[in-house]
Amino acid sequence: MTITDNSNTTRPSATVLPAMKKVVILGATSGIAQDVQRQLAYRGCELLLVARSSQRLAELQADLAIRGARKVVTYSANLSSIQQHAAILDFARHSFPGYDTVLLAYGSMHDQKDAESSIDVLLEELQVNFVSATAILTLFAGDLERRQNGCIAAITSVAGDRGRRSNYVYGSAKGALSLFLQGLRSRLHPAGVRVITIKPGPVQTAMTDHLPNSSRFADPELVAGDIVRALERRSPDVLYTPKVWRYVMSVVRHIPEDVFKRLSF
């Protein structure tokens, strides 16, 4: 747990809205998170990075501080282990006080076939993408609700909009997380805490390298740009990125089940 303080150096002139000065990133070493962090650093935000590998966190910390982050704090923890969550919140409250935004950016995508043949893989997929995610978001939601402000954003997936043959295990975990966020949004609305559901289409990151056609997936830098803009503004509640997925998925959601079950994608 080391702290780099840049507060005396001058910032690039990009404007920072009051609601996005101190951002907690859960899963800071994930592909999309790294690009989001760079853009937040450029805007002069303060960052608390949470991820497993302390060595990788140290590399990110150096990088983001040089790129303009006002302050970078790191905390090494295994986010899929719920026993460690209380300590993460504790650290955030004491070493990163007054944080205003929480971005959940971790996830795992096993090969669908493995999750069909191994119950261990199936349960791990649900544990990482859904169970642990709801647990840590509930902790942070309580804290922000008490303080009556802030923003919670979580990266789910367009795969959660409809169960498909090729990835329904990952999809169901992400879909369940989207439902959870929907309810959480309603619960936190009276407290003035915003909840954003981020639904990226397939993105070129380490998580998707093993998929066919991964070279045609979206550029993480563009997706990160959409996410940062959504954090800065007051809308939308549900972000599809790249934007075309909003329209694609509204079609996909409306295909009759009797037809959909025959589709092999």
Binding site: T29, G31, E59
Partner: protein, 453 residues
């Protein structure tokens, strides 16, 4: 094929599919690869190296080498673009430590607002630090700053047999000299220390001067060397005997000036039909280019991106050359052999196959930092040729003869077709580089010019 043998074939384990979509900048040759590793962290690289077969790997950056020096046909690549973190920066000295996949564009975006610039930059900022080192690239300031490698103080190099090797002029100096200009064959560059240079701001004081002969180019170049940090010329290779060109020279402006927001220009969406680039359209382009710049002769203050990276403003400009791609020809010829240079230009003019943007530069005398570095004293010219099959290759072969007889050399980063004999003539000491090659590394280029030594 009979039904039986087809069935027998089906039973054999399927060969792993070849990953097709990896091109170099020239989009020639079109080679398929077995697998592309994409490490996101330096700590993942050792395992990739350990588990690979001998001679199966090659690091790949942003694919801006023109030919096959960044390809490893039928084998594997390590795509390093995710190793793009800045690990340290000393605000007082300008010493930067960054991972090998950081792009020069990224370095400029982060450090130019702080008053620091690249010590040497090639004609595009979309290359990685690892690629700039592995090709020991040069720029318009070669006559005063030497090559990129001259500003690399230290390198952390992943080697398959001895882990992370730190190379500097004190520690493993030979491995440093091998890695600079080593075409990626010595290992994967984990990080490098690069000395940035102080500048007042993002503006360049530039002078534009038309010229009409090789001798007047040389006079301009010599006269400018002491007073201008950057010199380069554009040459109309269609003009034949009536040679003409535009000489550009510049210095960093001493005033900070306003900020520069690099323009995100248009992008070529797909490969143009090959017939669109022909001797008439290119001739017309060259004439227009000459007239526009000749009309603008004199001094001006321009943003750094339009001075250093005019081509970067059209994304994917390489698609201009159509589906077959193109070849670039960059050679250096000793200044004492000006006749050979004239002969070279004549032959290109006669062929009618030359293209726009012939770039001419007089190299300085500073020795290059790497064993296989290309820059050496003399006159260098770079030209694009649309790939038109055998006749393009024949023309380039005949240019090789002129270069070889003059004691000149070809640039591996631009090459997709030189013969082993031409490579030998360009780099007579290449065998002393061989012991530094990582046993897990190889490349299409290296196998082609050395037979896989």
């Amino acid at each position: 094929m009979s039904g039986q043998s087809a069935a027998a074939l089906r039973k054999q384990p399927a060969a792993p599919p070849l990953v097709k979509r990896v091109f170099s900048w020239g989009r020639y040759p079109k080679t398929a690869h077995q697998h592309v590793h994409k490490p996101a962290w330096n700590d993942q690289v050792p395992e990739i190296l350990q588990s690979a077969a001998p001679g199966s790997l090659l690091p790949y950056g942003l694919g801006r080498s023109y030919g096959d020096s960044c390809l490893n046909g039928g084998r594997e690549l390590i795509d390093c673009h995710r190793l793009n973190r800045i690990l340290g920066f000393d605000e007082s000295t300008g010493m930067l430590r960054c991972e090998g996949g950081v792009s020069l564009a990224d370095i400029i975006n982060v450090f130019l607002p702080k008053g620091w610039f690249l010590p040497v930059t090639p004609g595009t900022r979309f290359v990685t630090v690892g690629g700039a080192i592995a090709n020991d690239v040069h720029g318009k300031n070669h006559h005063c700053a030497g090559t990129f490698g001259a500003h690399v103080r230290q390198i952390g190099l992943h080697r398959s047999n001895d882990g992370l090797v730190v190379c500097s002029t004190q520690e493993n100096p030979d491995m440093l000299r091998a890695t600079v200009g080593g075409l990626g064959l010595t290992g994967v560059i984990a990080w490098a220390d690069i000395q940035l240079k102080r500048v007042a701001g993002p503006w360049i004081d530039v002078e534009v001067i038309p010229f009409h002969s090789l001798n007047s180019f040389l006079d301009l170049s010599r006269e400018s060397d002491g007073r201008f940090e950057y010199t380069v010329a554009w040459l109309d290779c269609f003009a034949g005997k009536n040679l003409r060109g535009i000489f550009f020279r510049g210095n960093h402006a001493v005033e900070a000036g306003g900020k520069v927001q690099p323009k995100r220009g248009p992008k070529l969406p797909f490969a143009l039909p090959g017939w669109m680039l022909n001797r008439y359209s290119v001739k017309a382009f060259n004439a227009a280019y000459y007239r526009i710049h000749a009309a603008r002769k004199g001094a001006a203050v321009v943003p750094y991106d339009s001075f250093f990276y005019p081509l970067d403003s059209v994304r994917q400009w390489n698609l201009l050359y159509g589906r077959q791609g193109f070849l670039q020809y960059q050679c250096v010829i000793p200044e004492t052999k000006l006749d050979a240079f004239g002969e070279l230009l004549d032959r290109i003019a006669i062929s009618g196959m030359g293209s726009f943007l012939g770039v001419l530069k007089q190299f300085g005398s500073a020795p290059s930092a790497g064993m296989l570095s290309f820059p050496r004293p003399g006159l260098t010219i770079a030209l694009d040729f649309a790939m038109r099959g055998e006749r393009t290759l024949k023309l380039m072969q005949s240019l090789d003869d002129i270069v070889q007889q003059s004691g000149g050399a070809l640039y591996p980063a631009k090459d997709a077709r030189m013969s082993p004999a031409m490579f030998e003539a360009s780099f007579p000491h290449w065998r002393s580089f061989v012991p530094y090659i990582d046993p897990k590394m190889s490349s299409s280029f290296w196998r082609r010019v050395t037979g896989g030594a």
